[in-house]
């Protein structure tokens, strides 16, 4: 079918969803092989995918899905049992379909025909030699295209007697006559009004007329039959090839008479035979229906499915470009900043209506905050999909290594910001691998330890205190602390007599170049270690914690921010201006001690910190935002490390740390170097978020010429 781009896009997004559903039901089937609802969902998904692919013209995908569907049909009818092998095979089939869909989405060919044939053969092997029943044959290509037209004319006599209620099926004999007339030339059309009742008994929505038609055509019997496709089963329709009679020459008068009469008169049948045939025909229709492979069982099943479908209420979702949501977030924040300004302006206002105004502004603040929160929730997704992927991965890995596992997930509905999910997926994947590769023992090993042969992997997510926690827990052998100790020694990280806490030992896991497993699985590969996991998590403001106990198992606990744009910041005041210092760059805060300051030259000052002298960066001088000069109220020094330089920031006051959303300033103010943006704090006041790299650049280029950094001084490029 030739379709438009929009339909294609719809197809891709629907297919993605269907493949996911199929995969989920397969995974779920593994733990409960009898689950009718899972089998149904699996079947439905593949079934819908097959039709969809066929509609948009991806026939290879459709063909393959069709075969898989046949296999699933056997599963559904109980002819095939759910085994691990079958599930593995079906998961693989799902992957193959996904592969094909991926390819076509990039405008590539679905798949190499040879590969497809091989894949199809695999499915057929599962189906067995007689796997494909007649009803499961490949759909016929469009008839007209393949049928050789018959050269000779044929004559058919067609008797059409419809049931009285035909109109209630939205059908009209006229349409059938029309279709028929297009196949050839009507030699005779004889309406039969013998059943037409008296006016009193006439019901205008019932059909009383029947017809007898003789048609001269080049088409085959089957083509004629096709015309009656929708009505042949529950109406009396006969098609008789009377070509021979016509060749012999036909008695024109006969055509004028009613069919029954004609047949009887010609001595072809007796009146009784006719009535009999009529009766038989009727029964035949019924038999056809019954024969149409409708078993009571199937019927009941179909009813059950429908019942189930009725109760399953699917959430309606729409796809929105993330950018659109982000722009809403930005607008909300801008409104907040604007409101904060309005609020400040009115603070000095004492005129009429002052109370009402400040109340109204306060109210708007709350509404805006609510609005922002809600918009941010739009970006939040549940972890369900991610967990399902892990479940699949864990299962595949365990299978490869001949390990037995059971996956338990909890807190699937915990929601996380889309970006946080994206960034934490890789680290999580690595941890799952770790559990299978290094945690779960082989069934034999486990039994020897007195554990059940099947290992348990648990994924759990929950929200606590504005953070999302994800735990990945196995009941395997635990982390080999002795092994880590040995390796650390080998690598010269520690001295032989050095006493180390468990925590310190575990920390080595995050050091590059430590691997305690001799085997390397296909997925985990070599080289990527826990060091990468920690780095990646830190990038989005997450942390990782490990608990392990020998032969009891290991738990990785990830702590992630709710929203990636959220940032922990130290809240400080300098000359009544509120600043936020991103916490990840803060080394610590020290009480300001005049005695530790060492002046070098007129402007620059150094501060003694952990045995070194670090430069002191004075915000009132660095930032050109019209702050009054320092008046000696400094009470503390915030020590920051940008990765390049370490320096101190004298501040007047250190307040509670804040979780903030950075809002770029550009749209509101001119871009200010050294300031990343502004944010509205809980009390409605605006605070400036420092861009420490920017601060560093201004500071070290313009003001500070001394070399007191932990690295050699770098030249800063101009421009």
């Amino acid at each position: 079918m030739i379709v438009d781009d929009e339909t294609l896009q719809i197809f891709f997004s629907e297919t993605e969803e269907l493949l996911k559903l199929a995969e989920e039901s397969l995974l779920s089937l593994e733990s409960s092989p009898q689950s009718v609802s899972d089998i149904e969902q699996l079947f439905r998904s593949v079934h819908t995918l097959k039709s969809g692919a066929g509609m948009v013209g991806y026939n290879r995908i459709s063909d393959y899905a069709h075969l898989v569907e046949s296999l699933l049909e056997r599963l559904r009818s109980g002819k095939l049992a759910v085994t691990n092998n079958l599930i593995t095979f079906l998961l693989d089939s799902i992957d193959f379909m996904r592969f094909m869909v991926d390819r076509v989405s990039k405008s590539e060919d679905e798949v190499d025909p040879e590969v497809l044939d091989k894949r199809k053969d695999q499915v057929r092997r599962y189906l067995g030699v007689d796997g494909i029943s007649s009803s499961e044959k490949e759909p016929d290509p469009v008839k007209a295209a393949t049928q050789e037209p018959a050269k000779e004319f044929s004559f058919y006599k067609i008797h059409l007697k419809f049931r009285r209620e035909l109109f209630y099926s939205g059908q009209d004999p006229l349409l059938i006559l029309l279709s028929l007339s297009e196949l050839g030339e009507f030699v005779q059309v004889v309406p039969d009004l013998s059943e037409f009742p008296d006016f009193e008994n006439f019901s205008m929505y019932d059909l009383y007329i029947s017809w007898q038609i003789i048609i001269k055509t080049e088409q085959s019997y089957e083509d004629i039959e096709d015309v009656f496709m929708f009505v042949i089963d529950d109406n009396d329709i006969w098609i008789e090839d009377i070509t021979n009679q016509y060749r012999e020459g036909i008695d024109i008068d006969l055509a004028e008479k009613k069919l029954g009469q004609v047949l009887v008169e010609k001595g072809k049948i007796t009146e009784e035979v006719l009535t009999d045939a009529l009766k038989k025909q009727k029964r035949l229709g019924d038999i056809l229906v019954e024969d149409g492979r409708i078993h009571t069982e199937d019927l009941e099943k179909a009813v059950a499915v429908q019942e189930e479908r009725r109760t399953v209420y699917r959430k309606t979702t729409i796809r929105v470009d993330v950018e659109k949501i982000d722009s809403l977030v930005n607008l909300g924040e801008e409104m907040g900043i604007g409101l904060a300004k309005v609020k400040t302006l009115f603070e000095k206002y004492t005129g009429p209506g002052q109370m009402e105004i400040s109340e109204e502004v306060e109210n708007l603040f709350k509404v805006n905050q609510d609005f922002q929160e809600r918009v941010q929730r739009v970006r939040m997704f549940s972890l369900e999909g991610t967990f399902h992927r892990f479940q699949r991965m864990a299962r595949d890995l365990a299978l490869q290594q001949n390990k037995q596992i059971k996956v338990i997930s909890a807190g699937l509905d915990t929601e996380l910001d889309k970006e946080v999910i994206e960034y934490s997926t890789d680290p999580l994947k690595h941890l799952v691998r770790n559990c299978i590769d290094h945690g779960i023992e082989s069934p034999k090993e486990r039994e020897a330890k007195g554990k059940p042969p099947t290992g348990i992997i648990k994924f759990e997510a929950y929200q606590r205190g504005g953070k999302i926690f994800i735990e990945i827990c196995d009941d395997g052998k635990g982390i080999d602390l002795k092994g880590i100790h040995r390796k650390a020694l080998e690598r010269g990280w520690i001295e032989p007599e050095q006493a180390l806490t468990e925590e310190a030992l575990l920390d080595f896991i995050f050091k590059p170049g430590l691997s305690t497993s001799s085997k390397v699985s296909e997925i985990s590969g070599r080289g990527v270690g826990m060091d990468v996991v920690r780095t990646q998590l830190n990038q989005i403001g997450g942390t990782i914690d490990i608990h392990t106990e020998k032969d009891k198992g290991t738990t990785f606990i990830l702590c992630l921010p709710l929203i990636s744009a959220f940032m922990e910041a130290l809240h400080v005041l300098v000359q009544d201006t509120s600043f936020l210092v991103p916490l990840q760059t803060v080394v610590g805060t020290e009480k300001f001690d005049k005695r530790l300051v060492k002046g070098i030259g007129a402007q620059e000052r150094l501060y003694r910190f952990r045995g070194d002298y670090i430069p002191l960066a004075d915000m009132t001088k660095i930032l050109h935002i019209g702050m009054p000069p320092t008046n000696g109220n400094t009470t503390a020094v915030v020590i920051v490390d940008t990765g390049k330089k370490v320096f101190g920031m004298p501040v007047d006051e250190v307040l509670d740390p804040q979780q903030i959303i950075v809002k770029t300033l550009e749209t509101n103010y001119r871009s200010v170097k050294g300031i990343a943006g502004a944010t509205i704090l809980g009390d409605g006041s605006v605070s400036l978020v420092l861009d420490l790299l920017g601060v560093e650049e201004i500071f070290f280029r313009n003001s500070f010429k001394g070399d007191a950094t932990h690295e050699s001084e770098e030249k800063v490029e101009q421009g």
Partner: protein
């Protein structure tokens, strides 16, 4: 279609002009019209020149009235559109109706 895209107008000569689609969805309308116009014992003439489509149900109703009132009261189909002409010859009801 459930909307009645069918209407009747009478001209100076008393001929009723049917217009639109004379289908099963318009049967109530058609029956009302026939009831009213034939009960008075008057002959009526109907033009189907502006009828684009007529279905079996509508044809049946016309036949039913014709059978009921003729030959005493005449129901005359005076003219037909080419579409109706085609339909009538397709189903062989022309001689019965016209």
């Amino acid at each position: 279609m459930s909307a009645k895209n069918f209407s009747v107008k009478q001209d100076e000569q008393g001929i009723y002009h049917f217009e639109g689609e004379l289908s099963i969805h318009a049967l109530d309308h058609l029956k009302d019209f026939l009831d009213k116009s034939l009960k008075g014992g008057q002959e009526i003439a109907i033009s189907l020149a502006k009828v684009r489509f007529i279905d079996t149900a509508a044809l049946q109703l016309l036949i039913a009235f014709k059978k009921r009132f003729e030959p005493e009261v005449k129901l005359k189909i005076s003219e037909v559109s080419s579409e109706v002409e085609n339909i009538l010859s397709l189903c062989g009801l022309k001689t019965i109706l016209v």
